[in-house]
Every structure is written in C-alpha cells, then in structure tokens.
C-alpha cells in the first residue's frame, strides 16, 4: 500500500512540475538546485563559511525577501487605492476601517521601514568583511544604487496616504531640490542661466518642479510619486537585484578568505 506522499509524488501532475525525485539523497539534492527555477539562483554547493549566519547575517537575503513582501502587499494595496486628491486619504482610511485583511497596510509600511534598516545592515556587513574588494567592486557599486532605490521607494511611498505626515515630510524633503546648484531656482548659479535677461530656472522649471510636477506638493506630485513608487522604481530595483545576484555568482560566490 503506497503512502499518500508516494501517491502524490508519483502522480503525473507532480512529476510534470518537479522534474526530479524528492531531494533526499545527494544526487537529487544536486539535481533539485539545477532544475528548479527558483533555486537555480543558487550554486549547487557552497563553502560552509559563506552561508554561516554569523558571517552574512542573512541581511541581503532578508532585504530581498522584504522586497518580495512589499511587492505582494503593494499589489494588493493597489486594488484599494486611487491616487487622487479626492480618494487617496479616504481609501487609506477605508483600508483601516472597512477592508478585511486589515493589516495589509501595516505590513507594507513596517516592511518598508524594515527594508531600509536591513539594506543598511547588509551594506554594513559587506563593508566589515571587506567583501567589496576585488573582484566584487562592481557589485558594491550596484549595491549602492540599490540602496538609493530602496530609499527612494520608501520616500515616494511616504506621500501616498496623503495625510499631514505625508505631505509635509515630502515637502521638507523635496524643498532641498529648490537649492540644487544651477538647476534649482534658489540654488547657487541659477541666476547665471539667463537668456536675454529672462531666467531659465524659475520655480516652474527647476529641479524641484521636475520632481513634484508642480510648484508645491499637489495632485501632480501624488500622481508622479504613485507611478514612480508602483512602477518605475520597483522595475529598476528588480532589474538591478537580478544583476546583483548574477554578479555574486560570477564573482565567485560569497566572499571568503583567499
């Protein structure tokens, strides 16, 4: 009498999905890494020290996992949220009061905070182990861009609830762009960019205007940040994470003493 486990694993459906027997022996533990799409990111075998928690702190992995959590909860939030002055705040309010799965927004928000922290910790560990040294210089550079994207993701998301906390934090944060050298209308050098006495850089054409889509944080900003937050930056980050992972393997796996 075959057990249920054997029946399931022996079925044609199961076998069509998993192209190998259960990874219980050495051969199949190798095969599983090679034939499974999700696992093939990994090598088949690694040095024991490279995966020791006391070495990597698993912080890169946790950052990636949080990125996935944010993607899933973010998509779910998009079902409920409309980025307009009329609806944004009320939709968030309804998410709290009316919608089942009431912790969705909480998980998304705390996950975002956590991701900022874990990406810092990951960078910290990479620095402390000197893992940016050759041949991993370029992956560190990619990492710095990922760090920036993580912060920008969090920053653009901060505006979306459209409450007092949101618009003033973004106002304070984006006010600095007003003072961009040459490109901000209150920045040093902006006055030099005049043609026939007409200022090229005004509060309706400077870096801050480009960021906000308006002269102050308003409906255009909400729309702009929404698109950046939900589409542009996540796509960019996903692409760079893919390259980041690919480079880890190409650079010889997790660093270790030579």
């Amino acid at each position: 009498m075959p057990s249920l486990d054997e029946i399931i694993r022996g079925s044609q459906i199961w076998k069509s999905i998993f192209r190998h027997p259960a990874p219980v022996d050495r051969r199949n533990r190798v095969v599983v890494m090679l034939t499974n799409f999700f696992l093939h990111l990994h090598p088949v075998s690694v040095k024991k020290q490279g995966i020791a928690l006391s070495y990597t702190w698993c912080m890169g992995g946790v950052t990636f996992f949080l990125f996935l959590v944010e993607t899933v909860t973010g998509v779910l939030l998009m079902f409920y949220y409309r980025p307009t002055l009329e609806w944004a705040y009320n939709d968030i309010l309804a998410l709290r009061d009316v919608t089942s799965l009431g912790v969705l927004r909480e998980i998304h928000r705390w996950g975002a905070h956590a991701m900022v922290i874990t990406v810092w910790l990951h960078m910290y560990r990479v620095f402390l182990t000197g893992s940016y040294k050759p041949p991993r210089e370029f992956n560190w550079v990619l990492g710095v861009i990922l760090l920036l994207l993580t912060l920008l993701l969090s920053f653009t998301g901060y505006l979306l609830p459209w409450d007092q906390l949101a618009i003033w934090a973004i106002t304070v944060g984006s006010n600095m762009a007003r003072a961009t050298p040459f490109l901000g209308h209150e920045g040093p050098g902006a006055a030099l960019l005049t043609v026939d006495g007409i200022d090229m850089i005004t509060n309706a054409s400077d870096a801050r205007f480009g960021l906000l889509g308006a002269r102050f944080v308003g409906e255009e900003t909400l729309n702009r940040f929404y698109v950046l937050h939900c589409v542009a930056i996540p796509l960019g980050a996903a692409l760079l994470i893919a390259i980041h992972f690919w480079r880890i393997r190409k650079d010889g796996g997790i660093s270790g003493p030579l």
């Binding site: 696992l39 024991k48 620095f127 402390l128 007092q164 003072a179 902006a190 102050f216 308003g218 030579l258």
Partner: protein
C-alpha cells in the same frame, strides 16, 4: 501626550512595561540556560562557607529574577515608582544639547573602539544590553519620553539602534578574535569552515527559516502597531516640527549647519559617490572575506565615523531630540512650541572686516555694474574663499608632507587615487568642522553670498 493625565498614562503603559520586563527576564533566563547547558558558564568565585561555585550563569539567573520582579511591580500602575527620579531626569535634560550629544556619542564610540577587546566580551556586551534595556524601561514611565519613542514611525528607529548595536558588536567580536589569531600566525576563523556543503539542504533551509522568522515578526508588528494616519493633508496647516522621513533626518539635521544646496544636494551626492568610490580607493588587499579591524584600521575607522557618527547619530538626534522649530530637547523635556533659542550666528566676513579690522564690510557703490559688484563680493568674502582654497588645495599635499601615514598612502596609491581619497575625506570633514565652528565661535557661514544663493 496632551489631554491625558499622568495616572491614565501610567495605567496605559504598565501593561506594556510588564510584558517588556518579562521579555527581558526570559531573554536572560535563556542566556543562563544556554551557558549552563553548553558548559560555557565561566566560574567567577566561590561562596565562602557553603563552598558554592558562582558562575556567569548564576549572574543571569539573578538578573532574570530582578527583571521578573520589575515586571510584577509594573502591573496595575505600579510602574510610576519604577522610574528615574524627577531630579535625575532634569539633570540629564540640562546636560543634553547638540554639543554634548554629538561629542558624547563620538567619545563613547571612541572609547569602545580603543578598548574593544574588553567591550566585545559577551559578558560585558550582555551587561550593557541589560543596562540599556533597563534605562529604556525606567524612562518609559516619562510621558515625554514615551510619547516620542512610541510614535509608530519611530519604533523602527529604536529597533534599528539595537540591531546596529548588536551587529556592530558581532562584527567587532569576530574581528577581535581574528586579529588575535592572525597575530599568532593562524588563519582567520572564516578559513576553518572551508569545506563545501550542498546548498540543499544547508542554505535553502536557513533561507526558509529566515523567511518564516521575518514573516512572523512582520505579522506581530502589523497586528500590534497600527500604521499612522494623521489628519488629511492640508497645505495651509504646517505642522511644527515638520520632519522628513526618518532615514533623511541626518540630512535635515545638516541643514542646521549648511544651506539646502549643501545639505540636500551636494552632501547626499557625495555620500553616494563616496560610497561607490570605496572599492576603488581602498587598495589594501587584506581583510577581504573575513572580519578584521587590525588589518584595515584606517578604512574601518573612516567608515564607522561616516556611518555611525555622521549618519546614524544625526538621524537619532533628528528623530528624538529635535522638536518644534528644530530646537533641541532633552529626552524628558516637553516639546514647547514657544521655546526660543537665541540665534546670534556670525559670518566669517563679519568677523574679519568688522570685528578684526574694525571697518565696514566692502560694498559696491550704488549703481555699479554687475562685474564690479562681483568683485566687491569676492573681496568681501575673500577670508572664507581663501580659507577654503587653503583647505582643499593645501590639505592634500599638507597631509602628505606632515603625516607619515598619508605619505605612505600617497606613495602606494598614486596621484589620482590619493586625490580622490583626500578630497572625499576633506569633504566629509567639512561637516564636523562646521559643527565645531558653530559651537565654539557661532560661525554662520564661511562664505556668505546671499546675492547668488551661495552660502557655505
């Protein structure tokens, strides 16, 4: 917290505090059990007469008992007794200001760094953790402290402080061990686990467990703490203080010392650029793939100064200690909207022309051409311009000439790399230099050209 009296507040917080103290007690109990079970408990001294050997495990059992008693004491509003006395709190507040806070943090971190062999000892680190948790607990009965720490968006920062503390300890602990091993001519710890293992199950299972733990934490956090939602946005009501999201508060804090074009644009770009440059200017081949401090002291200290001191410390200050009008408030101080702080900062040009030369600042006569005005401005600001030229042009060669360490760096790195490194360091140094100049002589700007929005 307004509209809430102290009794209500204490009742509200006591449930949390009980759980908090019990949690710390459990933590210590687990530590004691671990030490005892693994046989790692170190004998400390023998009790006279009974001859009972007291070990580290027993210490943590006693600590467990103390925290359990604190937890019991905190129930039903008893928490008000478990607090720092008002005079202690007032004393702490009266000591705290941006100067003592910044220099104090720097001082503490320096001491910890120099005496790292002592501070990485598990027993020392664990005691410090217990003490800081106790301090937090005793402070939580203060309404002002609790209000700011419990603000939903600030909770992650408290978590971050502890996580950073833990991982800084872990990194230093391993580094100290490795440094001792290397000094003895042995391989670093990381070389010991050189054997290859299969990713399934070793890594895949670790990842799975990490995912489950993170999910559990997020769920608990999400259920336990509501995401903040304030009043609907209003462009006419400016909250005071208006703060950027917490991870940018270091930059907002820099606004105290530099104008937005520096604090908001130039310095952040330099941070990003400087980080990217690290692999290309740190040419030291040692310390690749293992924790070490001794083999890369300069890189370690520079990074820690930038990260822990200039970035994290300023974020913590911006979050917890900056209140209305960006004034500084101690841990237990009420955020008074009307607190006034005298602003009597003076530009360098003012110091030079007015205070030193006892004459007015040069000013172009009315109706002069633009070129003439610029010349006058240049003359007016010449002290600051010269000072900065001296700093940036004179700094790199001066470091090579007068400092043996930088001379060796220069010889080994070559011109380009050395210039990038020295300029990045000088740029990073601008922030603490300006801070000190502000504290000591109330310096406002080295160069102040408001005509062209160029204040430096």
């Amino acid at each position: 917290m307004h509209g809430q009296n102290y009794e209500e507040f204490i009742l509200g917080v006591s449930g949390f505090l009980t759980a908090y103290y019990v949690f710390i007690a459990i933590m210590n109990a687990v530590a004691a059990l671990y030490l005892w079970q693994s046989g790692r408990a170190k004998p400390l001294f023998r009790f006279p007469i009974v001859g009972f050997m007291v070990s580290t495990a027993h210490i943590w059992v006693i600590v467990t008992a103390i925290f359990l008693m604190l937890g019991a004491g905190a129930t039903n509003g008893g928490a008000s007794v478990l607090s720092l006395s008002t005079s202690t709190r007032d004393l702490i507040d009266s000591w705290m200001n941006p100067i003592t806070y910044s220099l104090g943090t720097l001082g503490i971190l320096s001491v910890v760094f120099v005496a790292r062999k002592f501070f990485v000892k598990p027993i020392v680190a664990w005691s410090l953790l217990n003490l800081s948790l106790l301090f937090m607990g005793l402070s939580m009965t203060d309404m002002e402290f609790a209000a700011i720490v419990m603000k939903p968006d600030n909770v992650p920062i408290v978590a971050m402080i502890y996580l950073l503390g833990y991982f800084t300890w872990l990194g230093a602990y391993r580094a100290v061990q490795n440094d001792e091993r290397i000094a003895r001519g042995e391989q670093p710890l990381e070389s010991l686990d050189n054997e290859k293992v299969l990713v399934w199950p070793d890594l895949v299972y670790t990842e799975l467990i990490c995912m489950i733990v993170v999910t559990a934490i997020l769920l608990l956090w999400g259920v336990g703490l509501m995401a903040p939602l304030e009043e609907p946005a209003s462009t006419v009501q400016t909250p005071n203080p208006s703060k950027a999201p917490w991870y940018f508060l270091g930059l907002q804090e820099m606004l105290v010392y530099y104008d937005p074009w520096m604090a908001g644009v130039v310095l952040p770009s330099l941070i990003v650029g400087g980080l990217m440059a690290i692999p290309f200017i740190d040419f030291n081949p040692k310390g690749n793939g293992y924790y070490t401090i001794a083999e890369r002291k300069f890189a370690y200290c520079t990074f820690q100064f930038g990260f822990l001191v200039l970035w994290v410390t300023l974020i913590v200050m911006g979050t917890f200690l900056r209140g209305p009008n960006w004034n500084f408030f101690g841990f237990y101080e009420t955020w008074d909207q009307h607190k006034v702080q005298a602003l009597n900062n003076v530009d360098l040009s003012q110091y030079f022309w007015v205070n030193l030369l006892q004459m007015g600042r040069p000013k172009a006569p009315d109706g002069s051409s633009t070129a003439m005005t610029v010349v006058y401005i240049a003359v007016r600001e010449s002290p600051g311009i010269l000072l900065l030229l001296f700093y940036f042009v004179g700094g790199p060669p001066a470091m090579v000439i007068y400092n043996k360490f930088f001379r060796q760096l220069f010889l080994r790195m070559g011109f380009m790399r050395y210039m990038v490194l020295s300029n990045l360091i000088l740029l990073m140094g601008l922030l603490p230099l300006k801070m000190v100049a502000r504290w000591v002589v109330n310096l406002k700007y080295f160069i102040s050209i408001p005509e062209y929005f160029l204040n430096f």
